[in-house]
């Protein structure tokens, strides 16, 4: 024994960090805690002892390894010295794995005084991990009861505190029954319960153990540590034991970490990445019920708990046991993503599917498993819950609005996570939108709307568009903007879904959608038309509010790019009721946004045309000439307005701003032709003014007509520098300036 160990030591020299010298000097200055003091005293008295600190731990360990008889701490300075070395290194750096075997043996074999053993145990702080073998061999010392009760107790506490740092736990699990026998000891019982709690697996739960625990319960009454262990047993074997935890309880175990708390935190911080998450208590306590509400009428998302309904399978022996009880991994213990990956083949969904909503790991799992029953369970539960709790459908439930909001929020988050809507949620929206006041849980309802799946127009019209339009027209500006924002997200979700469907369809030829691609694209187009319609009316109702216009144009920023970004044959121009208010807007932000959108429309149309030309084969879809025509009409109006100062002459759109010169003259406005070019446009005039001030600081006449020729180019550069990127893209792409010298000539503006 002796030889083997010493040879092991020589093979693996203790790796005491080199920096211990400097660290030592650092704490010497502070010198507050006991071990430090003792070392200080010891050093002052033994100045001749001047050895390398690197070797000191090695020496200390080999001293403890050889120590044979009871040595008095007071009398032996050597013992004092070595003990202090262990303590100081443990506190600063933690101990390397190799030393635990020796030190645990010494601490528990009862040769030394309890005071020494206590100090040793308290300083058993790992630098990284604790080898399981050393723990197991130290447990064997408990059997021969060489050490005192208090040391045994401290050891159990140490085991609990250090549980996460033990490198393996297989052999420790084999000692379950041994630890269980310690429950008899009244002092040890709370700590042993905690240790068992950490060690318990499904196979540890046996009827005789339950009976033993119930006996203890009968003897000692309600004890939090027993409750915790018993509820864990119930979790694994609900067919053997039942317990309901009282609601108020928060802590079930006495704190074992005490002496090591600070040290453990340092280790955790040191190896934050690879340290396991500390074992959280996963006990489901009884929910505190609000007295006022009747049974089952309050909103509780069930805690995830293992399937109680296991005996159905266990009983039928012929039945292929897919959900084998010993195999399955309880969801309560699922805490990390790697656990999910390791156990994904024998993971079982919780007994109540509703609990997946708050558990991202289970949502991941749900995403992988395509089982109808999973969705059906969730569908029934969520459908009933939404129906029962809806604060604007159910009488007298207004007081629970906050609860309901939280619930809707949770549902929405889960939908975002899964990237798909729940059908129960869709049905709920259809049922409740006509009754909704547009105020209660507004942002939650509008967000849930964004996950309504793509449906045919007639269905969408009666279920969504009609009730929504009613609310939209009669509600505030802010509500209108929120609705537009949600509809934009709805559009994006539909487009994403469509792209994925088309991809998977092209992957497997056998699978085909019920509806053809054009049918699906038409459904999306209906939404865009709907938004165009409500936008036109809303702009009138709100007298072209800039804020509203921003949200409308934001919607069209998605629409204009569908061909290139989603590779879908769809291009819909905004209605004139949107285009003209944006073009003639008082605000440069809207105008700039419009310019950007027109630039993107152009890019998409050009790409589409190019593809048509390159691929000689007949494409299933082709933008109608009407789309090009519409674009060109808008483009002419825009260029006429902003560039060639001929807005009122060139505009050929039937709903455009073409006006006869006669009429214009009657208005008495002098320079009506240039009225909307980039200098005089009400949205741009501010820039022109600032430009004039910079270009001619001495001139106070504000002669806008000075901006021409070379100055026109400078002015453009000035505008671009002011952040009007959309305008820049538009002018550079859509206006072909024949030469830099002859500016203000209309170029090839048509696609």
């Amino acid at each position: 024994m002796q030889r083997r160990q010493s040879s092991k030591n020589s093979k693996q020299p203790l790796q005491v960090p080199h920096s211990s010298q400097t660290d030592l000097s650092a704490w010497r200055k502070g010198g507050r805690t006991d071990p430090e003091k003792s070392l200080q005293n010891h050093q002052s008295r033994n100045s001749q002892v001047n050895e390398s600190k690197q070797d000191s731990l090695e020496q200390a360990v080999s001293y403890f390894e050889k120590v044979q008889n009871r040595v008095s701490l007071k009398k032996s300075e050597v013992l004092q010295k070595h003990l202090a070395t262990v303590e100081s290194i443990a506190l600063q750096k933690g101990l390397p794995p190799e030393v635990f075997d020796v030190l645990l043996n010494v601490a528990l074999d009862g040769k030394l005084a309890d005071a020494v053993n206590t100090r040793l145990l308290k300083s058993l702080i790992p630098a990284s991990v604790i080898p399981e073998t050393s723990v197991v061999s130290s447990v064997s010392w408990l059997c021969v009861s060489k050490c005192s009760g208090s040391i045994q107790l401290l050891f159990i506490r140490w085991l609990i505190a250090m549980f996460d740092f033990i490198d393996h736990k297989e052999q420790l699990h084999a000692l379950y029954g041994f630890f269980f026998s310690f429950l008899q000891d009244e002092k040890m019982c709370p700590y042993v319960c905690h240790l068992l709690y950490l060690l318990t697996r499904k196979e540890s739960v046996k009827p005789f153990r339950i009976r033993r625990l119930l006996d203890l319960q009968a003897k000692m009454g309600m004890q939090p540590h027993l409750q915790a262990l018993l509820s864990l047993y119930k979790l694994f074997c609900p067919e053997l034991v039942s317990i309901t935890l009282p609601g108020k309880m928060k802590t079930y175990f006495k704190n074992s970490e005490g002496p090591w708390k600070a040290a453990i935190n340092t280790i955790r911080q040191r190896n934050r990445e690879n340290s396991p998450v500390s074992q959280l208590l996963f006990l489901g306590t009884a929910q505190h019920q609000s007295r006022k509400r009747k049974w089952n009428t309050q909103l509780i998302i069930p805690a995830s708990s293992a399937n109680v309904n296991i005996l159905a399978e266990g009983k039928e022996k012929n039945h292929v046991d897919l959900y084998s009880t010993s195999e399955s991994f309880p969801v309560e213990q699922l805490q990390t993503f790697s656990q999910l990956l390791q156990n994904i083949h024998h993971l079982e969904f919780p007994s109540q599917m509703g609990s997946v909503l708050t558990n991202p790991l289970l949502l991941h799992y749900m995403n992988c498993i395509k089982d109808e029953s999973i969705y059906l369970r969730l569908y029934y539960w969520m459908g009933q819950t939404l129906q029962e709790e809806c604060t604007w459908c159910v009488v007298d439930s207004y007081q629970y609005e906050e609860e309901f909001k939280d619930f809707l929020e949770t549902v929405y988050k889960a939908e975002c996570f899964l990237q798909e809507g729940f059908s129960s949620c869709e049905e709920f929206l259809y049922k409740s939108l006509p009754l909704w006041d547009g105020f209660c849980c507004r942002s939650q309802v509008l967000r849930l709307m964004t996950w309504i799946p793509l449906r045919g127009f007639s269905e969408m019209k009666s279920h969504l568009y009609d009730p929504l339009a009613q609310l939209f027209f009669t509600s505030s500006l802010y509500f209108k903007c929120s609705v537009l924002e949600s509809l934009k997200e709805l559009l994006q979700n539909w487009l994403n879904w469509l792209v994925i469907q088309l991809d998977s369809e092209s992957d497997s030829q056998g699978y085909s959608l019920n509806t053809t691609l054009s049918g699906l694209v038409n459904m999306v187009a209906e939404l865009v038309h709907f938004v165009g319609w409500i936008s036109t009316i809303a702009l009138r109702l709100e007298s072209n509010a800039t804020f509203l216009l921003y949200f409308i144009l934001d919607f069209y920023e998605t629409v204009c790019d569908i061909y290139l970004r989603y590779n879908l044959p769809m291009l819909i121009m905004p209605p004139p009721g949107v285009f003209y208010p944006a073009l003639l807007s008082m605000d440069s932000v809207s105008l700039n946004q419009l310019c950007y959108i027109m630039y993107r429309y152009r890019t998409n149309l050009v790409a589409a045309k190019k593809n048509e030309l390159i691929k000689k084969k007949i494409l299933p879809f082709k933008f109608s000439s009407q789309t090009y025509q519409e674009y060109n009409q808008y483009l002419i109006a825009m260029v006429g307005c902003l560039w060639t100062s001929s807005a009122f002459q060139k505009d050929i759109h039937p709903q455009g701003i073409r006006l006869d010169d006669e009429v214009l003259k009657k208005t008495g406005v002098q320079e009506f032709k240039t009225g909307f070019n980039i200098v005089y446009h009400p949205a741009m005039m501010g820039y022109a003014l600032l430009f004039l001030q910079q270009a001619w600081p001495d001139d106070n006449t504000f002669n806008f007509s000075l901006i021409k020729g070379r100055k026109w180019n400078w002015y453009l550069e000035y505008l671009y520098a002011q952040g009007l990127k959309g305008l820049k893209l538009f002018i550079e792409s859509s206006i072909n300036r024949v030469s830099q010298a002859s500016q203000r000539k209309e170029g090839n503006v048509q696609v």
Binding site: Q227, L230, N309, S373, L376, Y380
Partner: protein
Amino acid sequence: QENADPQKTAFLLRKQWTLYSVTPLYRFSSANLKEYARLLGAFIAAEKQKGLAVEVGVDLDIKVTFSSLPDLRGSDQDQAAMLVQLSSRSSVPQKNSEEKLMWSGWFCCVSGDDLSENVPEDFTCLPLFLANGAESYVAIVGSWFQKTFDCRFCRLAISPLNLTWMAAMWTGCKVEKNASATELVFSVPCLPQPLDISYAIHPEDAKALWDTVQKTPGEITQEEVDLFMDCLYSHFHRHFKIHLSATKLVKVSTAIASAHCDGIIKFLQSKYLIGVLMLLTELAISQIQ
């Protein structure tokens, strides 16, 4: 449609049952009723003495029995009804000592094809739950079912419209002579004090009226039900100058059964038990879907 054996279902009559709808039970097996009784028994004991663990299977103060009521169904497609009973054991440790029934509840499905046809094998459709006894036990038993079979219980209210249907349908049923009166209770809205109006009609008069209204026997339409009620309302108005159509119908009681809008029912005739349950099953399913 067969009628249930009157002997076996007699205990369901003349009791007040509170109605619930229940979503399909996941992985329920009628072969395991005994096991379920053991588990539920331990669960109830654990709930009653929060914080103390209870071993499953030992004798407890409250005895739970699960039993099947195979007669209570509309067709073979329906799942057999299931009865859950809680009875208290007397504290005297005596065998065969009297067990007192404290609470009972039963699940049933009569012609619930609309629901059962659409769910996969793993699910059991028993959409209607009826409970008699303290609500605290409904809470415990319901929670256990919800946890164990991932279902959800909701109170099943009966709308005034459905009450008028019940009034018409039950009026049309044949009953023996000197049956109790048909009574409709109306509640007057928007009053500081609640005011109920009871409208009792001799059952034979009511049937005579209904027979003039109903065109095809065995078939009832919404128009016929509306007409029947309108006749009753106008008769009432002629005598009392009160428009009952402006009030809310809250209760209907006939010799067949009585129903309250809060979702409480009392069966009075075993002959018509299945028929009433069929209507209630339909209401429960429409609440679920």
